[in-house]
């Protein structure tokens, strides 16, 4: 009987899924094995893709005779000194390069997008937004919410009297926002599980693995119950 590769891949995937889900019953060796397999494979996969990309960029320059680009490799290899005590400072060089370039690329655009544009949008929306309440109440609520919540984060003085009321409104704004975010998070997690369940039930040989897992679960519950009774 020949078994094709797709079946083996799906079998492994279903097995990994159920081994990880077995954690819901109790922490067990199958869960740890699946978890470790995932960590190792993920690290290997990420490394391979990263090496491919880095080599493509490097080859583009060295093939044109720019030999100095080979220096990026020893500079990158300085990361290995993270594990030494005496030469640990060498690890700071590639870190400084990566961090400095990242910071420089981000900083000026950060200020525009996440500060100036947000203030502009808050002012603009205070007169134009309308979702449930009549215009411009929704927009005014957004502006009040933003201002009071920002005020709530001002920690250098004690809030008394009217200031306390402003901080309270800010706190309630944040909490209402967190409630909405919670609703969205629940939807995200349920969607993930739906994806897994659909894979288990509809991808061959998922259903067979599910039956085997169910038998093992019943056996485990029975054994635990017998141990408890003794």
């Amino acid at each position: 009987m020949s078994v094709d590769l797709t079946t083996i891949v799906n079998l492994t995937a279903a097995g990994i899924t159920l081994m990880l889900l077995s954690y819901l019953y109790k922490e067990n060796r199958f869960f740890r094995i699946a978890e470790h397999a995932y960590m190792g494979a993920a690290a290997a996969y990420t490394t391979l893709i990263s090496i491919d990309t880095a080599w493509t960029y490097l080859y583009d320059y060295v093939s044109k005779g720019h030999w100095w680009w080979w220096l990026t490799i020893p500079i990158g290899l300085l990361y290995i000194f993270f594990f030494t005590r005496k030469y640990f400072y060498l690890y700071r060089y590639p870190t400084a390069i990566v961090m400095g370039i990242g910071m420089g690329t981000i900083v000026s655009r950060y200020i525009k997008t996440q500060f100036l544009e947000q203030i502009r949008a808050t002012i603009y929306e205070s007169t134009t937004t309308q979702y449930l309440l009549p215009k411009p109440l929704d927009g005014i609520l957004i502006s009040i919410g933003v201002l009071t919540a920002l005020f709530y984060f001002y920690f250098t003085m004690e809030f008394k009297g009217p200031l306390n009321t402003i901080a309270k409104i800010g706190r309630y704004t944040l909490i209402a926002g967190f409630g909405g975010s919670f609703g969205l998070t629940v939807m995200a997690r349920i969607s993930l599980f739906i994806g897994r369940v659909r894979f288990l039930y509809f991808t061959h040989p998922g259903p067979y693995i599910c039956v085997v897992a169910a038998i093992m679960l019943i056996a485990s519950i029975t054994l635990d119950y017998m141990k408890k009774s003794k």
């Binding site: 690890y91 370039i101 933003v146 920002l150 944040l174 409630g179 609703g183």
Partner: protein, 216 residues
């Protein structure tokens, strides 16, 4: 001299690169933009080497565990799933020119282990949310009540069944998302910016040395 090499040169390197890349975002000068592009590619190549740390850490920690206790199956599995695809993928790339993105065996490792593993680990959270919803989410105070009411309205508004129960859930959900969630997210964005800018200024001025790691 020693402290110059250990601390000051990395710091000055970070500062110079920060200012140069910030200059690139602000000016449209051909040479500056060309050098900036080359520097970004160099960063991509150098940054890729950071995977060395994760591979070395995994190998060191789990290698020590299997030497100490050869019956530790989990660590053996991790080392096998790490090194065999890595060596095979690198070999196929180096000697046959087959990119990992198209190498069938590497893609099968992804489909069989990485993809289901990642999805399942996060999907388990739905059960913990359900358990917390039943046992921990109590409207003990005004704040908790607001959070639960807003959360419940959004959950019912997001699900098709909510509209069947009451058609008002959807407009209420839209209102909560577009007014309250917008305000909250905006505050988080602005606060995050201020905190990040403060951190950048501290790094550039040399007060923040956490990025340098341990040691002098």
């Amino acid at each position: 001299m020693s402290i110059v090499i250990r601390r000051y040169i990395p710091w000055i390197l970070a500062v110079i690169l920060t200012f140069f890349m910030a200059l690139d975002t602000l000016v449209l000068e051909k040479n500056i933009n060309a050098y900036a592009e080359a520097i970004r590619k160099a960063q991509a190549i150098i940054g890729t080497h950071a995977v060395i740390i994760s591979i070395t850490l995994f190998t060191r920690i789990h290698g020590r565990r299997v030497i100490k206790d050869p019956k530790r199956i989990e660590s053996w599995i991790l080392l096998i799933c790490l090194w065999i695809p890595l060596i095979w993928g690198l070999g196929r790339y180096a000697f046959y020119g087959v990119k990992p993105t198209v190498e069938p065996s590497i893609q099968q490792v992804f489909s069989a282990i990485v993809s289901p593993g990642d999805s399942t680990i996060y999907s388990i959270l739905v059960f913990f949310i359900a358990s917390a919803a039943y046992r921990a989410f109590r409207a003990r105070s005004m704040e908790a009540a607001i959070l639960l009411i807003a959360g419940s309205i959004c959950m019912l508004g997001n699900a098709p069944v909510g509209e069947l129960i009451w058609s008002g859930f959807v407009p209420l959900k839209d209102w909560i998302n577009n007014v309250w969630v917008r305000a909250e997210a905006r505050v988080i964005i602005i606060s995050g910016l201020l905190a990040t800018l403060a951190l950048y200024v501290r790094i550039l001025l040399g007060y923040e040395r956490g990025w340098m790691g341990r040691g002098e």
